[in-house]
Structures are given as structure tokens and as C-alpha cells.
């Protein structure tokens, strides 16, 4: 009987594990192997040792894409978390039609980011400049997507528009875990408004804050769809995210080997950030 149980578990585990290894582990290993070659994506290739990695650190375009992606991730994470925290507090207060508001505010999250990007592309290209013209704001009278210094703001707005929905829902479920008597007790001690939020509410929802941080940073570092729909990495490669650069130059630009090295570095960066975030939020939660 016991053996039957163990055999069943093995018969379940082995094939599914094999599937996972086949389409996750093996491609990962192949990616690492390609990163030591000058493979163009087709034809013959040679081993080049660490040359791709050395080149990576002196490649201006790669450096620029890291700067852009990190800047986008940091700014969007802050913007999204501030907005969704405010929104969650509003949606969690005693208001009418709460269900309707929650449903409506979550809507952006279910829409495909590519199509959302196309819609905002039109908005930034035609609507915003026309409005700015009428209002006499000359700095906005041309499309922000065609300005190398401002295009990233467009990407940021679209990313935030969708991500706020998700983060708000998570903050709401965090706020619902705070028992009412905490506020009552705090109110007796004079904790209201900002003080109440800073010293009572926020410490109690730190676990949800860390979930949102992890979600945001990871998603924004991997940004792709929005770039395709809004800027295609332009103008002047000012909005080329790491994923977009790897896709563009690796898949069709003949840099299969070189971009594999880029992807390996990107993978290591993601792992370090994720582990650091988990360690950090883990230690924060223990203090409570």
C-alpha cells in the first residue's frame, strides 16, 4: 500500500519534471552556452570565450538600455505605489457603490498592454499636443513620444495606468486585514490622518507593500509590450528596454550570441534583486 503511494507520486513527478527541464532548464543552459559564442542565429559559429561579456560592458547601447530600464522601473514603482496606496485608502473607506468603484478601477489591468499602448500612442501623438496648443503650453505641443528626453515619461504613464489597478487591489486586501479596533485604540491616543497611516496602518500592511514592490520592480524591468506599442525603442534609442534590445538585436539583428550574454547578465540582475527584496521584506516582517 505504501509502495503504491510512493510509486504514484513518482509517476506524477517524473514526467512533469521532465517537461519543465525540457522547456525551461535546457533552454536556459543553451542560452548560457550561446553567450560564449559569436552565433548570429543561423549558420556556423565559434567559441569566443568571455569576449561577449567584455564587449557588453563597453557597449554604449546596452548601457543606455540598462539606464533607461532601471530609471523606468524605479520611477514607475514609486508612482504606482503612491497612487495605488491613496486609491486603496479611498476605496476602503465607507463610500457608496464600493463594489462598482473597485470593479471600475481594476479594469485597466485586464486589458492587453499592447492594445492599451497603441491607444495611448494615439493620445500622446494627437490629443495631448492639441490640448497643449489650446492651453498654450509650448513644451507639450509636440508629441512627447518623439522627444528623446521625454518619451520615457509616456512609457511610464502607460505602465502605471495598468499597474495601479493591480497594486490597489493588493493594498485593499491588506487594509482589510487591519482590525477596526486598532484605529479606535489609536484614535484615543490622538493618531488620526497622516499619523494614523504612518504609525498604525502602514506598519500593519508592510507584507502587502513588499508584494507590490516585488511585483512592480520585476514587471517593469521586463517591460516589452508597451515599448513595442509606443516607441519601438526610439527616438534615438532612448526608450530601448533590456528585453526589447535582446529581442530586437538577438532575434533579427544577427547578435544572437552577444544578446545571449546580455540576457545572462539580465537574469543574474533579476535574481539578485528578487533575493535582496525577499531578504529585506523578510527582515521587515519579523520586526512586527
Amino acid at each position: 500500500m505504501k509502495n503504491d503511494r510512493q510509486r504514484t507520486f513518482l509517476l506524477i513527478t517524473i514526467p512533469i519534471l521532465a517537461l519543465f527541464v525540457c522547456f525551461n532548464t535546457i533552454p536556459l543552459i543553451r542560452g548560457v552556452i550561446y553567450s560564449f559564442t559569436n552565433f548570429k542565429g543561423f549558420g556556423k559559429y565559434d567559441w569566443v570565450g568571455l569576449r561577449n561579456y567584455v564587449d557588453l560592458f563597453s557597449d554604449a547601447r546596452v548601457g543606455k538600455s540598462y539606464l533607461f530600464t532601471v530609471k523606468l522601473a524605479v520611477v514607475t514603482t514609486i508612482v504606482v505605489n503612491v497612487l495605488s496606496m491613496i486609491l486603496a485608502l479611498g476605496l476602503n473607506s465607507k463610500i457608496r457603490a464600493k463594489g462598482f468603484f473597485r470593479g471600475a478601477y481594476f479594469l485597466p489591468n485586464i486589458l492587453g498592454s499592447l492594445v492599451v499602448g497603441y491607444i495611448f500612442n494615439y493620445f500622446f501623438t494627437y490629443i495631448l499636443p492639441a490640448v497643449a496648443d489650446m492651453a498654450g503650453i509650448t513644451s507639450l505641443s509636440t508629441s512627447i513620444l518623439s522627444s528623446p528626453s521625454k518619451a520615457w515619461i509616456g512609457v511610464m504613464i502607460v505602465c502605471a495606468w495598468q499597474a495601479v489597478a493591480m497594486n490597489t487591489i493588493i493594498y485593499i486586501s491588506g487594509l482589510q486585514t487591519v482590525p477596526e479596533d486598532v484605529y479606535e485604540a489609536g484614535g484615543l491616543d490622538g493618531a488620526t490622518g497622516w499619523k494614523q497611516f504612518r504609525y498604525l496602518t502602514f506598519p500593519l500592511i508592510i507584507p502587502f507593500f513588499s508584494i507590490n514592490m516585488v511585483l512592480c520592480v520585476k514587471n517593469f524591468l521586463m517591460v516589452f509590450d508597451q515599448i513595442v506599442a509606443l516607441t519601438k525603442g526610439g527616438p534615438a534609442q532612448s526608450t530601448e528596454s533590456i528585453s526589447y534590445l535582446i529581442y530586437n538585436n538577438g532575434m533579427s539583428g544577427g547578435q544572437f550570441g552577444f544578446q545571449s550574454a546580455n540576457a545572462v547578465v539580465f537574469f543574474i540582475v533579476i535574481v539578485i534583486i528578487s533575493v535582496a527584496q525577499m531578504k529585506f521584506s523578510g527582515s521587515k516582517e519579523e520586526q512586527l
Binding site: 507520486f9 513527478t13 519534471l17 485586464i110 486589458l111 492594445v115 487591489i169 502587502f208 535582446i246 529581442y247
Partner: protein, 281 residues
């Protein structure tokens, strides 16, 4: 009490701000709808020309967009991929979550497999995409079948974590009782454990379905040469054909959003619960 009056006032302020905030969501949708119904001749260069309501609510743009983007075919592909991915994920991931969840506490092998698969969450698609494009082509899987297989592998770490987490709440005594009655482990799973995990199936279904339905990258890499499209991929591939006919483009965007909007209106509660559970657990 003074307390209640201040609460009442701040709530009214909150309500007004929430309604104002809603306009940031409603405006892009309004824009999409009015442009989708208009004719190019109605699109004068002024704001009022763009934002005013269309003169007639004609469906011609939609009819044309359906032809240009091969809408029904793309919709069929999207539905096929999403439904099969969700169905297979629920069957396979729950089974694997069960096998690992029940054994990882006392077996080194199973706890290693669990950690091995769950750490797959850290692997960005960017590093897999080039080798996978090669590998699926070599295996003859550069089509929708390959896309489904990849989805099942990509969402495995997350879903297995959810399932084996949920399993902790299901007492093992249930299975032991069935075993005493002579049922095999396999039968016990499908008869007792699988139905009990119903709420987690709903969560997994919702998060997997949303992720798959809106995904662009996987079909873009894998199905690029097959001539087939999913709904998002069709928007990308036919973008150049819209040219400057934004009315046609927006009709096509709206068409591609309608299925998920219908889904959201019908299952809003389940979707909200699902994404919350998925993220918080």
C-alpha cells in the same frame, strides 16, 4: 459623536476624488469607442473633431477591421490557446502541486524538485526566448501547440506554489480514510483532493487565463513564421496595414478588447478574488 461627522465629510471628499480619478480610466476607453465608430472624414485636426460623438453609429469600420486582421481566425486561436492552457494547467499543476506538497516536508528529493521548479519564477523570458525559438523550430513545435506547452511550463512555478500552499489546509486524514477503504492514491486524488481544491482551481484559472490571453511575446517568438495570429499578435502584425486610417485601427483595437471585457463583466468577482489570492498567497 464628533467622530462620525468628520468621517462623513471625508467620505464625501473621497467619493468626489474617486469619481474624478475614474475619468483617467474612462477617457481612453471613450476615445477608443468614438474613434472606432467614426469615418476618417470626421477626424478634423481639432480636438473637438476627434472627441465628438460620431455622426452615425455605423459598424462599417468593424466589418473592415475584421477582414483586415482576420479577426475570427485570430479569436479562434486565442480562445483555443487560452482554454487548453488553463485546462491542462489545472490538471497537471494541481497534480504536481499535490505530489510535491505532500512529500516535500519529509523527502529531500521532493523538496529539491519543488525548489527547483519554483525558482523558475526568477528566469526572465528574455534569456529563454532565443534558445526557445530555436528549440521549438527543431522540434516542429513552432505553432500554437508549442505555445501551449511553453505556457504550461512558464506558469508551472507559480501555480505549483499556489497548489501546494493550499494543500497544507487539507488534512491528510481524508486521504488515509479513503486508503483504508481500499482506494488507490491515484483514485483518492481525483475523487477527493482534486474537488476540494476547487477554490484554488478558480484562482489558477483566472490568473493563467488573463496572462495567456494578453501575452504578446510568446506567440511573437514561437508562431512568427506560422502565419497564424492570436488577437494581440494580429494587432501587432497588421499595424502597418492600418496606415493613417486610425478609425480602422481603433475599431480593430476595440474588437480585440471586447472578449476580455465581456469576460470581466460576467466574472468580475471571481477575477478580483483570483488575482488577489494569486498575488497575496
Amino acid at each position: 459623536m464628533k467622530h462620525t461627522s468628520t468621517v462623513g465629510k471625508s467620505n464625501r471628499v473621497a467619493l468626489v476624488l474617486l469619481i474624478l480619478g475614474l475619468s483617467t480610466i474612462a477617457f481612453p476607453l471613450y476615445l477608443t469607442i468614438v474613434i472606432a465608430f467614426k469615418q476618417p472624414s470626421e477626424m478634423t485636426n481639432s480636438i473637438s473633431g476627434i472627441l465628438s460623438l460620431p455622426k452615425t453609429w455605423s459598424l462599417n469600420n468593424f466589418r473592415e477591421a475584421m477582414i483586415v486582421t482576420d479577426f475570427w481566425h485570430s479569436l479562434r486561436n486565442s480562445l483555443l490557446i487560452s482554454v487548453l492552457t488553463v485546462g491542462i494547467s489545472i490538471l497537471i499543476h494541481s497534480l504536481m502541486g499535490y505530489a510535491l506538497g505532500r512529500n516535500k516536508a519529509h523527502s529531500k528529493f521532493y523538496s529539491f524538485v519543488y525548489l527547483f521548479i519554483v525558482s523558475g519564477m526568477f528566469v526572465p523570458f528574455a534569456i529563454l526566448m532565443m534558445p526557445l525559438a530555436k528549440q521549438t523550430a527543431e522540434l516542429g513545435l513552432a505553432n500554437w501547440v508549442g505555445v501551449i506547452i511553453l505556457y504550461i511550463v512558464f506558469y508551472m512555478p507559480m501555480n505549483i506554489m499556489l497548489y501546494s500552499g493550499y494543500l497544507v489546509n487539507i488534512p491528510i486524514a481524508l486521504e488515509e480514510a479513503a486508503r483504508v477503504d481500499g482506494a488507490s492514491t491515484w483514485m483518492t486524488y481525483w475523487k477527493i483532493i482534486f474537488p476540494i481544491m476547487g477554490p484554488m482551481h478558480a484562482t489558477v484559472a483566472v490568473i493563467t487565463a488573463l496572462a495567456v490571453w494578453n501575452d504578446v511575446m510568446t506567440p511573437l517568438i514561437i508562431m512568427a513564421g506560422s502565419g497564424e495570429n492570436t488577437l494581440p499578435l494580429a494587432q501587432l502584425n497588421f499595424q502597418s496595414q492600418f496606415g493613417t486610417n486610425y478609425n480602422l485601427a481603433f475599431a480593430s483595437y476595440l474588437l480585440s478588447l471586447i472578449p476580455i471585457l465581456i469576460f470581466y463583466v460576467i466574472c468580475q468577482k471571481q477575477i478580483l478574488n483570483g488575482v488577489t489570492n494569486g498575488a497575496v498567497k
